[in-house]
């Protein structure tokens, strides 16, 4: 630790968005950088709502720190290789410039008054960005809906105790087609030196749709080159159900419903095939704009089997993507649910 100048930030108030670009659903994130604001790398990953530490470890953090020190040692000779790790142009320079946040927060915490309430949370940045698309009545892009995809989206699970080492490869996935094997240590992605799983997520977040990504990995003592081919809709396989910001998507696209893909047993009981839409209503919002579905007649334990004529199997994350790309606030979407064995037709208002 004493090899770094350590800075702790605890809120997003007045956060410089031209510098601090990371996964805003995280509650812990680290950025390694030079005094001239050049980013060496990022650390912090998450894919589970309850277990915030599933995808990180002290061992992994230590290895990322060592790698960041190594990059610093070779700086600025390696500056060109770090170029793609730098922040992208930002529409707003600070959170308070987002229309839905403007005037609500001060640049610093109010330690003498209501300090908790004066705190602007990182997840509010993503909420504010998404609200803008709805207010401007624009389709929500996939990179906004499915930010910072985990490498699991490509069928590659990385070991949180390492920098970026492959722990498992899903058969038939983009990762397997690229030739990745268990134990491969990802060294670079798109030419960017990788020091953590978060660095892989950064490269994926900024990748195109479709995209060809070039990777270099260490297999044993040998450096190998691999090519990942990503399909046009590759981001849509991301599971965003764990994210705090998905709560607001549930308001926009589902009127406050929480939906879960039906289990095999629930499908069997409802006599629905494995490839059919079957989303179980796990929660119906009770208040304000989160009670829109309740007021439209939806009930807990309803089984959603058709949305806007769509009857193919979708996860909640995929359904939100379909609705937020194609349906604007004010539209009412025909939905069919199974309730007590009966088919019930309802209308779900978009927000």
């Amino acid at each position: 630790m004493d090899k770094f100048v350590c800075v702790r930030l605890i809120q997003a108030n007045a956060l410089d968005l031209t510098l601090f670009q990371f996964d805003y659903d995280l509650t812990f994130v680290a950025l390694f950088m030079n005094a001239d604001r050049t980013i060496y790398g990022r650390f912090g990953s998450r894919s589970d709502r309850k277990d915030a530490a599933r995808d990180i470890s002290m061992e992994g953090f230590g290895k990322a720190m060592a790698a960041a020190l190594d990059l610093h040692k070779h700086y600025p000779a390696n500056k060109a290789s770090l170029q793609a790790k730098q922040p992208r142009p930002a529409r707003f320079k600070a959170p308070e410039e987002f229309p839905s946040l403007a005037g609500k927060y001060k640049p610093a915490l109010d330690y003498e008054g209501k300090v908790v309430q004066s705190c602007l949370h990182c997840h509010q940045l993503r909420d504010a960005e998404r609200r803008l698309f709805r207010v401007e009545r624009k389709p929500m892009p996939d990179e906004v809906l499915y930010p910072y995809p985990m490498p699991d989206t490509l069928g590659l699970s990385l070991d949180p105790k390492e920098r970026a080492q492959v722990k498992s490869v899903v058969p038939g996935s983009a990762g397997q087609r690229a030739g990745f094997k268990v134990g491969d240590e990802l060294l670079t992605l798109q030419g960017q030196p990788v020091i953590s799983i978060a660095d892989v997520q950064w490269a994926l977040h900024n990748a195109g749709e479709p995209a060809t990504l070039h990777a270099q990995a260490l297999r044993g003592r040998k450096r190998i080159n691999l090519t990942l081919e990503l399909a046009k809709d590759w981001r849509r396989h991301s599971d965003i159900s764990w994210r705090t910001t998905t709560w607001d998507l549930r308001r926009m696209a589902a009127g406050g419903l929480v939906l879960e893909d039906a289990t095999a047993e629930e499908r069997r009981q409802a006599m629905l095939p494995v490839d059919a839409l079957a989303l179980c209503v796990k929660h119906v919002g009770e208040y304000g704009e989160h009670a829109v579905a309740k007021r439209a007649g939806f009930k807990k334990d309803d089984l959603v089997v058709s949305v806007d004529g769509q009857t193919r199997r979708l996860t909640e994350s995929e359904l939100f993507g379909y609705l937020l790309r194609n349906k604007m606030p004010g539209e009412k979407i025909p939905v069919t649910v199974l309730r007590g064995g009966e088919r019930v037709n309802l209308e779900l208002p978009m927000q």
């Binding site: 702790r8 990371f22 330690y111 300090v115």
Partner: protein, 86 residues
């Protein structure tokens, strides 16, 4: 604040009070009391966090310009941690 509101939206919390005004009032009072206590706890955590981290002396607390100046002076890299106080 937003996270707390989300956490408070517990499925089925209101149904058990339906049709019983006294129970509903008691429930609301309980919820208000729990929420106030939670807010107070969180305030304590925020205030204590600053005290403890500053006392430890290892971290520059919530002062990024100072961090950049120190990094330039010492030629060390910066480690900036953004950590929400739960």
């Amino acid at each position: 604040m937003k996270t707390s509101a989300r956490a408070a939206a517990v499925p089925g919390a209101r149904n058990s009070f339906r049709g019983n005004p006294l129970a509903l009032c008691a429930g609301i009072l309980l919820l208000v009391s729990v929420s106030l206590q939670a807010a107070e706890d969180r305030k304590e955590r925020v205030l204590n966090d600053r005290k403890e981290v500053e006392a430890a002396g290892r971290w520059i607390y919530n002062d990024l310009p100072k961090g950049f100046a120190e990094a330039a002076r010492t030629r060390k890299p910066l480690l900036v941690v953004i950590r929400c106080i739960p």
